[in-house]
Amino acid sequence: MKTNVTAETDVKEDTDLDSSGMSGESRSQWALARRRFFHDRLAIFGLIIFSLIIIGSIAEIVLNPSGYQDLTGDYNQAPSWHHLFGTTTIGIDLFSACMKGVLQDLQIALIVSVMSVVLGTTVGALAGYYGGKLDTFLMRLVDLILVVPGLAILIVLSNQISGKGNASLYLAFLLGALSWTYIARLVRAEFLSLRERTFVEAARALGADNRRIIFRHLIPNCIGTITVNATLTIAGAILLESTLSFLGLGLVPPEVSLGMLVQQGEEAATTQWWQFAFPASILLLIILSVFFIGDGLQSALDPRKNRARS
């Protein structure tokens, strides 16, 4: 059984001659996808953990806006009701710091994700739709970016970041500039296969121009892929950012990120375990929950590809 995930397009459009789901079915497709998603226990687990972490971090920032840099005078305190995650060597409340780090990381990850979607979809769509020389050129570009580990490129370029005023924004753009290739490849592949399908030819025969075909017919058919990978890009961005911070590159104090906290906790890991354990666990949980959500979306939106579970 073939299921097409499509956006809700205007049914009455004369060019929507599609035979494969670009019509009234689309609404029920979404309903079905939603039902599948909410029946997926791991996805729900991910969604709950993710929401809890976000609610916690927003609440903490609202209630205690400068908590992540206030010196409490309690040095190296083990977790207690007063300091949920304990305190650091210089007396900062670790819970506050972690929550601040979460927000910082998510903010970066969101920008990266949006950038990847925009860049990746554009490049993938152009390459897949027009093919030929443009395709070859764009795909070579992608190959080129993939030829050197993204981390190494970031390490080299992070010299540019440190010391800049809005380092986090700059870092986000850098990560975004490196993260779009995956979405580009997937969108291109879908375009290549969709291009030949009857509904596109029908639309073309009816005089729809390229822009219209791309935006009304092809991109809606890729929404599933794009959504899933936008989610996974968030996880990837957090991973990369925390790794850079751990290396002491990228963000520098007074900014806070989870990777930085882990790195600071490393020194004291054996004696003051909480300084390592809490930032590391939060980091892990947030990435894990985003992966679960992404995988849940994948199997909900595109049941043909049983990505990790089925």
């Binding site: 030829v147 050197v148 981390l151 990777g259 882990v262 890991a269 390592f276 892990l284 679960f292 990790a308």
Partner: protein, 324 residues
């Protein structure tokens, strides 16, 4: 054979492009003399001399040409300290490669093994356990795994034993000497933790992919035909499902080699290895242009070679490509 030659030509071309890319990347990543310039006591002559040494007084393309024409002959220039880069690169590379290659082999074995088991027992407890574990390691940053193993596994064990059972620092004992075979146990002892870390960071994606490709194979016509021939379950699994599923899996594994090298940078940092990754980090920190470029170029070569191997493996595994 023609196929291999064609792929080889493309690879060389990509490598050439990659060298330009790497060069530009480094050229625009910062001024190696920035610190020197900031210091008001630096005599202008020194500045100019240093600039001349680094060819910064030449136009960009001439600099590239100079670097490239030397690089091609294996001369990657000098470090800031004035030592030739190439020998340093080789000695660090050997250290890194022995970790990366061992990790690669084990990751592939573990990934295929768990992927197959998972697919075979789809939906059962063991499948769910494997899948959850895969996601867990997929979500854990390399440095977290590394630090955890170091501080919360290896150190307590060592403490408990009262002596070092598992090495947590360095790629070899500082005073080790004797023949290669004599030192082998020492090498291996130092490799255990970093390699495990790298494996855990790598295998999960492949395992997940192996499982899903196998499951997709399960309902294919040719698998049904194979079963209708009366073959044993085992034979159908190995000869008709796994054999075919290996084709896409090989490609994915080869494409991930870049990530493996990236992971090695972190592992080396965590376990204070003196490999290529930490050498590179140090080079970047010192704004040592030639070290940085050498590292990037060499990783690009590795990645391209692996892609080439993947193409060849693909052709070897799939007669439709081999014969076309």
């Amino acid at each position: 054979m023609r196929f291999v030659i064609r792929r080889l030509t493309i690879s060389v071309f990509i490598l050439f492009l990659a060298s330009i890319f790497v060069f530009l990347l480094v050229a625009f990543s910062g001024d190696p003399l920035a610190q020197l310039k900031l210091d008001p006591r630096t005599p202008l002559a020194t500045l100019q001399y240093r600039r001349h040494l680094l060819h910064l007084d030449l136009p960009l393309w001439e600099r590239y040409f100079y670097w490239f024409s030397h690089a091609i002959r294996g001369d990657l220039g000098n470090t800031i300290a004035g030592l030739p880069v190439s020998p340093q690169l080789v000695s660090h590379m050997v250290i890194t490669l022995r970790m990366v290659l061992v990790a690669l082999v084990f990751s592939v074995i573990i990934a295929i093994g768990t992927g197959v088991i998972s697919a075979l027992y789809r939906g059962k407890f063991i499948d769910r356990t494997i899948t959850f574990t895969n996601f867990f390691f997929l979500a854990t940053p390399v440095f977290v795994t590394g630090l955890f193993l170091k501080f919360f596994v290896a150190l307590p064990i060592n403490q408990h034993a009262g002596k070092i059972l598992i090495y947590t620092d360095g790629d070899q004992s500082p005073l080790a000497d004797g023949s290669f075979f004599h030192r082998l146990p020492d090498y291996i002892g130092h490799m255990i933790l970093p390699t495990i870390t790298l494996i855990l960071a790598t295998y999960a994606t492949w395992s997940i992919y192996q499982r899903s490709t196998l499951l997709e194979t399960m309902d294919l016509d040719h698998v049904l035909l194979a079963r209708s021939k009366g073959l044993s379950r085992r034979r159908v699994l190995l000869r008709h499902m796994l054999r075919n599923a290996l084709i896409p899996v090989t490609t994915v594994i080869a494409l991930d080699f870049a990530a493996l090298l990236g992971g090695a940078v972190i592992t080396e940092t965590v376990y204070s290895w003196n490999g290529m990754g930490s050498w590179f980090l140090e080079g970047v920190g010192n704004l040592d242009v030639n070290i940085t470029m050498a590292y990037l170029l060499v990783t690009a070569v590795f990645v391209i070679v692996f892609n080439l191997l993947a193409d060849i493996a693909y052709a070897a595994l799939d007669p439709r490509i081999r014969l076309s």
